[in-house]
């Protein structure tokens, strides 16, 4: 309860600062929050934003899921199998520091300008964030846990299911938290051209038309999308990693 109260207070403080800044700067480039929120609400009530919101949300969620479904199993495997770790880690080491976002032209050449390119770009970038964390988490599983499983006659697959995966889960969740911020940022980048739908497009289009209220409404919805995903993860984490929160 106290946490919720503090979040609400923080939100009000930030809106207050925005209001104050808008008042002091008195420029078109920073409209006051009441104008933005009322415009945003109107976009919801007349339904004009729903399509773009849904499509952006779908792209972000699909990108995150695609990354998760590939990076987690691979990361667990590389982390838990020392021989493969030695063989495959150099690839991660070399590929991770490359700014993957520059691959966008290549991705578009390969997959076209449709939704899949955007999803793929998001997935590609957070794939590396998740695989590195997952690998390191799987690597650091204490030997005692393996022994305990072996004495119970577990197969390798059972060790993955009962030990390696659950012990890595809290760290995977942390990687996901970081990835959500990245995913929304990449979403904006991917939607800022070669598309006419999505929140990124709304923002860029409004900017081009110098419609700052619409521009900020787009930003508002983009922030809301990130917040919504964060909230979803928070709820999931409390259910899945209950053992880390009860004490």
């Amino acid at each position: 309860m106290e946490r919720k109260r503090n979040i609400i207070i923080a939100a009000l403080v930030m809106v207050g600062i925005w209001e104050l800044a808008a008042f002091l700067l008195n420029t078109m480039a920073l409209p006051n929050p009441r104008a933005v929120v009322s415009h945003a609400l109107q976009m919801v009530s007349d339904g004009s934003i729903i399509d773009d919101l849904l499509i952006s949300c779908t792209r972000a969620v699909c990108g995150i899921l695609l990354a998760l479904l590939t990076a987690v199993p691979l990361g667990l495997f590389i982390g838990a199998e020392p021989q493969w770790r030695r063989r495959l880690s150099p690839y991660i080491y070399l590929l991770y520091p490359i700014p993957h976002v520059v691959l966008l032209p290549l991705i578009i050449i390969l997959f076209g300008i449709g939704n899949f390119s955007k999803i793929f770009l998001i997935a590609l970038i957070i794939f590396f964030q998740i695989i590195v964390t997952t690998r390191d988490a799987a690597k650091s599983v204490h030997q005692n846990y393996y022994y305990a499983m072996q004495t119970l006659g577990a197969t390798r697959l059972q060790i993955y299911r009962h030990v390696i995966f659950p012990s890595a889960l809290p760290k995977i969740m942390t990687a996901m938290r970081i990835s959500i911020g990245t995913a929304v940022a990449i979403l904006f980048f991917a939607e800022s051209f070669a598309t006419t739908r999505g929140l990124g497009y709304i923002i860029m289009d409004s900017w081009g038309r110098a419609d700052y209220i619409a521009l900020y409404s787009g930003i508002f919805f983009m922030a809301l999308l990130g917040f919504f995903l964060y909230l979803l993860l928070d709820i999931a984490e409390r259910r899945i990693c209950r053992w880390t929160v009860v004490h």
Binding site: T151, A154, C241, V246
Partner: protein
């Protein structure tokens, strides 16, 4: 019932061979109990790993007659923090793909027997050391073992809890007929629980003395004269075995 013959164990460290155990031979009869005592780093835990099949001896052999079920309790309990007490206890049965109904029944019985009623949905991190130890007992007992291997099971507990759990361990042998093998660093524990006590010397661990202790097997033994005299004998053996290395 099972015996270890001329076993030695060496592992290769960075720049030298680390001789952990040398020429170990002894036999443990069915329904008897064997306690191993010795200074820290003498290879007690490694000896238990050999018996549990977690490590293979470099020379010599471990021979087990019949096809007994072996339960193992590793140091620091080896409980999985991400599994509830019920899930921890039922894990061995789950790995053996026993039906859920049977698993629930056995888990409930063991909860009651170990005095853990009402804690089935707790996580290990929420329990005291003594309770965690009892969960570890319950998990090992769930697979209905003929032999129980224990690595310093009571080392981190306070004196009273310790005595209560020593009585419990004793009952595993007397009531359930389980053969016990126990690694300990406590003279009193070795005498109270081991019908045969093996004293290991320092690196490389080799057997310095074997003390037969036929009077053990009753909780009243703890207060008898023969208990105190056995403790004294064992103390002398232990001091002799580390003589010259520690002073």
């Amino acid at each position: 019932m099972f015996s270890i013959k001329n076993a030695s164990f060496t592992f290769a460290a960075e720049d030298h061979q680390n001789h952990v155990l040398s020429d170990i031979s002894f036999t443990i009869k069915q329904r008897s109990s064997c306690a191993v005592i010795g200074p820290s780093g003498c290879g007690k835990t490694t000896l238990l790993y050999l018996l549990a099949g977690l490590r293979q001896p470099n020379t010599g052999s471990v021979e087990i007659q019949g096809n007994p079920t072996v339960g193992t309790i590793l140091q620091n309990y080896g409980l999985f923090p991400w599994k509830s007490v019920n899930q921890n206890i039922g894990l061995g049965l789950e790995l053996q793909r026993k039906p859920a109904g049977l698993r629930k029944k056995i888990t409930a019985e063991l909860l009651k027997e170990m005095g853990l009623d009402g804690f089935g949905d707790h996580y290990p991190g929420q329990l005291s050391g003594g309770m965690q130890q009892r969960v570890a007992f319950a998990r090992a007992l769930a697979i209905n073992p003929d032999i129980l291997l224990m690595d310093e099971p009571l080392s981190s507990l306070d004196a009273l809890t310790r005595e209560r759990l020593q009585n419990l361990i004793l009952s595993f042998r007397i009531i359930k007929g389980i053969t016990l093998f126990l690694v300990t660093h406590s003279i009193e524990e070795a005498v109270f629980l081991g019908s045969q006590i093996i004293v290991l010397g320092e690196k490389p661990g080799r057997i310095k003395h074997v003390l037969q202790n036929p009077d053990c097997g009753d909780t009243a033994f703890r207060k008898s004269d023969s208990y105190f005299s056995q403790c004294r004998t064992l103390r002398n053996m232990l001091e002799e075995s580390v003589n010259g290395t520690e002073t």
